[in-house]
């Protein structure tokens, strides 16, 4: 019984936090996101080559470090705390798709580049009518001989406007939902960066008009992948929730009104306490979900939607109250509170809002 991150994992957390605090403060994130690419390539290179982050969990035979999923969960928590606009999450989720659903050939082809950070791949699964991107898809795959083409539209694709490789979910001739590899410069592909609610992560719409594609692997269904992604997203949200609570707590100790720090008033103190209660529950749920994903436990099917919903509610609650505790200043563009508020509501909706997660949970519990 040791339901906690190990000393090595905590050391990884510390080094990633130090790095991001130093190299990617929010003022820099704001500047990076305003560029056409939406992130700083030099920063990403450092995260990849210096810290080796994108390859942590990938097998050593594909140039990774061969850890389990706990290490990327720790990194993602710090990424969520810092709001860095680099494509860590996008590449992580895409690499897990390749690892779990990809053929041996595609693993050998794609994983080394993903591990080194040289290849940016991203999941293009979500559709307007399919928030999880795993079912009820309108995008189709047509086979003609050896050639496959995809037709349809995807949305909310992280770094979709610039990624080298897109992993697109589509329904094939036999009705099976699978992932297909689409090169970023493929003919028939139209990529448009969206005016996103989230200001710290570029999102794109992707239109496919008979785009040449290759099947990633012959595993049917994306539910398992979506569960792993939801478990990891819960960790990202835990990092953001903690950042909101820390910002609000620091401000409540510092800000004086009525000749007292506002954090001494129970009206403020109790909201901050509730934020910690919510964070604490979300952290436990996210940690358990990541453990279930790491060990391949069947429990993941119920724990992933549960953790995603718990973390979403903790994050949106904390991000909202962080603004309130900051008062008028919290409502300004210059103050960073809205960046977390935007990320909270974005993460909460990605792969399904809490009500949708609980509907999935109810189905899986056999209610």
């Amino acid at each position: 019984m040791d339901f906690s991150y190990s000393a090595d994992q905590e050391e990884l957390r510390d080094s990633v936090r130090r790095f991001l605090t130093d190299k990617s403060p929010l003022a820099k994130v704001r500047a990076d996101i305003a560029t056409e690419l939406g992130y700083d390539q030099a920063l990403w290179q450092q995260m990849s080559s210096q810290l080796g982050l994108p390859g942590l969990h990938l097998p050593e035979e594909h140039d990774g470090s061969g850890t389990g999923l706990l290490e990327p969960a720790v990194v993602l928590e710090e990424v969520g705390r810092s709001l860095t606009s680099t494509p860590y999450a996008a590449v992580l989720f895409a690499s897990l798709a390749v690892l779990h659903l990809g053929s041996k050939e595609w693993q050998a082809e794609l994983l080394p580049g993903l591990a080194s950070g040289e290849t940016i791949a991203t999941l293009a699964t979500i559709e307007v009518a399919s928030p999880t991107g795993a079912s009820a898809l309108a995008t189709t795959a047509q086979s003609r001989g050896d050639q496959v083409t995809l037709t349809g539209a995807k949305t909310l694709v992280e770094h979709g406007h610039s990624a080298d490789v897109l992993l697109v979910s589509a329904v094939g001739d036999g009705g099976a939902t699978r992932l297909y590899v689409v090169q970023g410069d493929a003919p028939g592909l139209t990529r448009t960066r969206l005016d996103a609610l989230d200001l710290t992560r570029p999102l794109a719409e992707v239109r496919l008009d008979a785009v040449p594609a290759v099947l990633l692997g012959d595993v049917d269904g994306l539910d398992g992948l979506v569960d792993v992604v939801c478990a990891l997203l819960a960790s990202e949200m835990v990092g953001g929730t903690a950042a909101c609570l820390e910002m609000a707590t620091a401000y409540a100790k510092d800000r004086f009104q009525f000749n007292r720090p506002i954090g001494s008033f129970q009206a403020v103190k109790h909201r901050l306490a509730e934020m910690l209660v919510a964070l604490d529950g979300a952290r436990a749920a996210a940690q358990y979900a990541v453990l279930a994903a790491d060990t391949g436990s069947p429990e993941l099917a119920t724990v992933a939607p549960l953790a995603k919903a718990e973390a979403s509610e903790a994050y949106t609650f904390a991000a909202g109250w962080n603004i309130q505790v900051h008062g008028g200043v919290g409502f300004t563009w210059e103050q960073d509170a809205h960046l977390y508020f935007r990320r909270a509501w974005t993460d909460s909706a990605l792969y399904g809002v809490p009500a949708a997660q609980r509907a999935r949970l109810a189905d899986r519990l056999g209610l």
Binding site: M1, D2, F3, S4, Y5, S6, L70, L245, T249, A252, K253, R260, P261, G263, S264, F265, Q266, K269, H270, L272, A273, E274, L276, V277, D280, G281, A284, A285, Q287, Y288, L291, D294, T302, V303, L306, A309, E310, A355, R358, A359, L361, A362, L365, L367
Partner: protein, 418 residues
């Protein structure tokens, strides 16, 4: 990271399961399946079986007659008893064994240990707790029950309230004011007092669910020997805080087990009424499942910390808020599932409850209404949600306290309030 119990704990679990299989009645369906009379009879018989088999006082060292179990063994035992719905002792054992016994073992004199521990264990003495007062609830240190030394005896005057199982007890541990000139936390003494004397009167309080589970206790020139102080004269606040640590006990992983059984009961209730297809009810049932899972995961965290040697601290305030507020929401959902059915109760009375009904309670409208009514107590007793949020804010987040209006000698405060 893993959630596996150590092999020796699993070996002990097998022994506990074997014990339960051997000693529980063949048709055992939980305390909730017995009527009120059968329950009392079973509780007494069962306590004797536990005592014979070293399954009582599991947290005490062997030299004091306890089972001397390791922490993880205590947890395993509590888990298996919770799953089987078997009581771990009598109503007074919580106070006698878990709270007072452990406190005496750590802070009592050798004479107190020799005298009291065997009597607590044998059931000869049944203990209750004299802490809260009508004017000292959340502000426990504002207590006014006085104790004055008269020769070799303390003379006690005042009133305690919310004394659980006080009507079943013959001894009470009492926090008393022994120096009103000191600041309020510095003039308190922890006394052991026999209740079978003319100066002690117990009056039951009927709660809003209709049950008399707790009492008022009046002291009128009640007496106890001068040596019956635990932890030093005027140093009783420290004793009270130490006892609080034992009160928290090993519930980290058992809350989830007990609330899991309630989710199962709730789902069955919804299913019987054909409501599991209603998307709103489904979502809320899934939410209940989630909250209980969070309790389970937090239990693993707490157990991990305990096994690493750290005692439960202020984070227990988070657990208290989570379970007590959840208890109100899930019972409100039951009320909504029942609808008009809840308004005229059917089924056997629960006998009263403080957290949730006994294992095996019939899934009736009455059981749910009584659980729903009782859930209002959870956010008040053992530190209200407001007190818990102060603890979280001040001790876990480091937020500043409110400016104190109660510094200085206690006497000056009490004059203002008299």
């Amino acid at each position: 990271m893993d959630i596996d119990y150590p092999p020796e704990a699993e070996q002990y679990r097998a022994r506990v399961k074997a014990f339960l299989g051997e000693h529980l009645p063949a048709d055992w369906a939980g305390m909730g399946a017995l009527d009120e009379h059968e329950r009392e009879r079973f509780r007494l018989e069962w306590r004797a079986i536990l005592a014979e088999n070293q399954m009582l006082a599991v947290s005490w060292p062997k030299e004091y007659g306890g089972a001397g179990l390791t922490l993880v063994e205590q947890v395993v035992l509590a888990e298996e008893f919770a799953k089987a719905g078997a009581p771990v002792g009598s109503e007074n054992d919580t106070f006698g064994i878990s709270m007072l016994g452990n406190t005496l073992i750590h802070l009592g004199t050798e004479e107190q240990k020799q005298h009291y521990l065997p009597r607590i264990l044998s059931g000869e003495q049944r203990w209750c707790q004299g802490y809260s007062e009508p004017d000292a609830g959340s502000d426990l240190a504002g207590l006014r029950t006085s104790a004055v030394l008269d020769g070799d005896e303390w003379v006690i005057n005042g009133q305690k309230t919310w004394t659980s199982a006080g009507h079943l007890a013959d001894h009470i541990f009492v926090l008393t004011r022994t120096d009103a000139d000191a600041p309020k936390h510095k003039g308190i003494t922890f006394l052991l007092v026999p209740m079978d004397q003319p100066g002690v009167e117990v009056r039951p309080i009927r709660n809003m669910a209709g049950y008399a589970l707790f009492n008022e206790v009046f002291f009128t020139d009640a007496r106890t020997a001068a040596k019956e102080v635990v932890g030093g004269v005027n140093d009783g606040w420290r004793t009270a805080m130490a006892l609080l640590g034992f009160e928290r006990g090993v519930s980290a992983t058992t809350d989830a087990i007990r609330f899991r059984a309630e989710v199962d009961r709730l789902v069955a209730l919804a299913r019987e009424r054909g409501l599991t297809g209603d998307p709103r009810i489904r979502e809320r049932l899934a939410w209940c499942h989630s909250r209980v899972e969070v309790m389970r995961f937090r239990g693993y965290q707490a157990l991990t910390r305990s096994l690493a040697g750290s005692r439960p601290g202020p984070e227990a305030a988070i657990s208290k808020i989570i379970w007590s507020e959840y208890a109100q929401v899930y019972t409100e959902l039951a009320m909504e599932i029942l609808g008009p059915e809840a308004l005229a109760m059917t089924g056997q009375r629960t006998g009263g409850l403080l957290q949730m009904p006994e294992h095996g309670t019939e899934n009736t409208a009455r059981s749910w209404v009584e659980t729903f009514m009782s859930a209002r107590a959870g956010t008040i007793y053992a530190g209200s949600s407001q007190v818990q949020r102060n603890i979280i804010g001040e001790q876990l987040l480091g937020l500043p306290k409110e400016p104190r209006a109660d510094a200085g000698p206690f006497r000056e405060l009490s004059r203002g309030r008299a």
